[in-house]
Symmetry: C2
Subunit: 381 residues, 2 copies
């Protein structure tokens, strides 16, 4: 499936949760499949920290340009683009095409940098709704996402309950724990205290806070994987064992000794080449802030009363960042409200990353759930 | 109990595991209690990453100068200094009194800095043994430690099996997992890539890589605590909620919003004021390298054949850095060798930090075990 990114410009100011607003912004998006005549087969896919509107397919002439959820979405795939019209949107504040900190602030004529307004999951959902308006989509057959994307899917059911038929919330949580916030904060501190960050206005200096971005990404990678899968993939393997040595160690504190170090440094380097530092701050903050129960005295059941759609929740046993326990909190709150909820807890070894990987049971459940939605639309099965 | 630090100088070179050696070094230590006439009541306490020879008691005229295991060791305490002669030693390469990277290299006349030789758990044990020789202690009633200190206690039983009566190994592991190494590596990268690190020779520049040390310490703190105890202590509490606001959020990416952020920043700042950056690299590397089974093809049972003493192992259910599973590996390998092993798995909420905290069951087990040792020495009960 060859796909083409698109962009939509919005002139009127969007009021943000913080009280600030943003005007003259654009949203990058992609669509796959065809919207049916009555406009009922649309599926919105929300992305997590590091992803974008490029959800599925490849770009013409670009090898290895598969979208980040290409195993899930496409012709004949679990979310079948022969049946559904799928939309991926890059969120405001990101760095992959939608307006973000690297763009010009129309109020000042200078790059936003650290002055880009703080955006929340709720703000993203509002912006996504405006895009759907423009695309002529009144109601979604489904909204779906994993991790931070799952938070957006959940928020859709609260902000626009009459515009969502199904919400598919994968490897997500009703809010972050203190430990999650802590990891985000360390990553942010690494970026902000990098001398090349310049208070978030590094663009004008011609530098990038790569040191901080590397550290942030390394921390991220540790938390995306399970202890077990790290042991299986890397264990205590050395990158290059010294021959004729009992231990094989090189005895170095600054050079790479273990394979896991090599892997993390590589991931950090790669990330620092393309990801925007201010975007990293904004997106981790959106994660920290999401907490629909907060306005209801911490009562998630009350908070989820507004949601009227049907739900599929999926979690993965070894995901310690968004553990099954957190998904079960959402399931319980929905059941307290007598909502229609399916829940699958997948016994997978890969930790949080599992939501992006191929697992027969996981894919099977998603396929069956979306086939069920397709049947209610009267699409061919 | 008022205590006084001491120091011992060693002139002859100490051969290190790496092949390098170190000469003209000193070891800072403290002792509590009295060595009995036949020299059989000595207990060596080994320290972990951030601690020192100041294990128990207070310094004269210094409020709040309690040693790091003062709840465990002292007159009438579980390790009763009315019965035992307890020794705490600061390890080589540390920054609390023993020779370390901030000292002058006698070969060059310049500060060691990054040229301080890589030291291992085995090297530390060898140095500790030399100190015991000087103190006239042929055999230890017990060697004990938590975390990295537990690794040293275990290594004593392999390097000097005839010099140890009991080994008490708390919240430890037979080696680090890939995830543990990964956290250490991120911390090291934060330090090494701090522009103020200057390749480890920052002393001459009059600067300290505080940014890196802060990040390292913040990561450490997250891994020392359990998710549950973090939620209980900090949860999603804001440092200063905005009045007349549904969420109370200030909406900021760089300033403190949540209490957990405030806590971590404070811990990071404090640590960066006193801890040496090169020491941090050395000690985390010693953790990474410890792996007695490595020389035996990964077979821990074979590796532990040399150990002949009696063992007490203790782990804590919520410790995800040195989980009970890792302690059980040691227990199993010792039982395979038909050694005398006691094992306690304490249901404590505090994560890895639990080994330093008061817990009735934990303290009770330690008290009973050391009372048993004392009885075999003929000490009064």
């Amino acid at each position: 499936m060859v796909v083409t990114p698109q962009s939509m410009h919005f002139e009127p100011p969007l009021a943000l949760q913080s009280g600030a607003s943003i005007r003259d912004y654009r949203l990058a998006f992609e669509t796959y499949g065809t919207l049916n005549a009555d406009g009922t087969n649309a599926v919105l896919v929300c992305h997590a920290l590091n992803a974008s509107h490029h959800v599925a397919g490849v770009y013409a002439g670009q090898d290895k340009s598969e979208g980040w959820w290409d195993n899930m979405i496409g012709p004949g795939k679990p979310v079948d683009t022969d049946r559904f019209f799928v939309i991926g949107v890059n969120n405001l504040g990101s760095c992959f095409g939608s307006t973000g900190p690297g763009d010009i602030n129309p109020d000042t004529g200078r790059v936003y940098g650290a002055d880009f307004p703080v955006v929340t999951v709720e703000d993203w959902v509002n912006a996504q709704a405006l895009l759907l308006d423009r695309l002529g989509i009144r109601r979604l057959a489904a909204v779906m996402g994993g991790s931070l994307g799952g938070m957006q899917a959940l928020s859709w059911t609260l902000q626009y309950p009459d515009r969502v038929g199904h919400a598919v919330v994968v490897a997500s949580a009703p809010n972050l724990t203190a430990e999650n916030i802590a990891f985000n904060e360390v990553a942010r501190r690494a970026i902000v205290t990098d001398p090349d960050f310049h208070g978030g206005h590094f663009y004008a200096q011609g530098v990038i806070p790569k040191r901080g971005l590397r550290i942030a990404r390394m921390i991220g990678h540790i938390t995306y994987l399970s202890d077990d899968v790290m042991n299986e993939k890397f264990g205590r393997q050395l990158r290059e064992a010294v021959a004729d040595s009992v231990t094989g160690y090189r005895y170095t504190t600054q050079d790479i000794e273990f394979q896991i170090e090599s892997y993390l440094r590589y991931q950090g380097d790669k990330f620092s080449e393309y990801f925007d530092a201010n975007t990293y701050l904004l997106i981790t903050r959106a994660l920290d802030y999401f907490d629909p129960a907060r306005a209801h005295g911490g009562n998630l059941t009350t908070a989820l009363q507004r949601a009227t759609c049907k739900f599929l929740l999926v979690s993965f046993t070894t995901d310690w960042r968004f553990s099954p326990r957190r998904s079960r909190e959402i399931v319980k709150a929905l059941l307290d409200n007598r909502r229609d909820v399916s829940y699958a807890e997948i016994d997978a070894p890969h930790g949080h990353d599992a939501f992006l990987l191929d697992d027969g049971r996981y894919m099977g459940i998603m396929r069956a759930y979306f086939a069920g939605i397709a049947r209610t639309l009267g699409a061919t099965t």
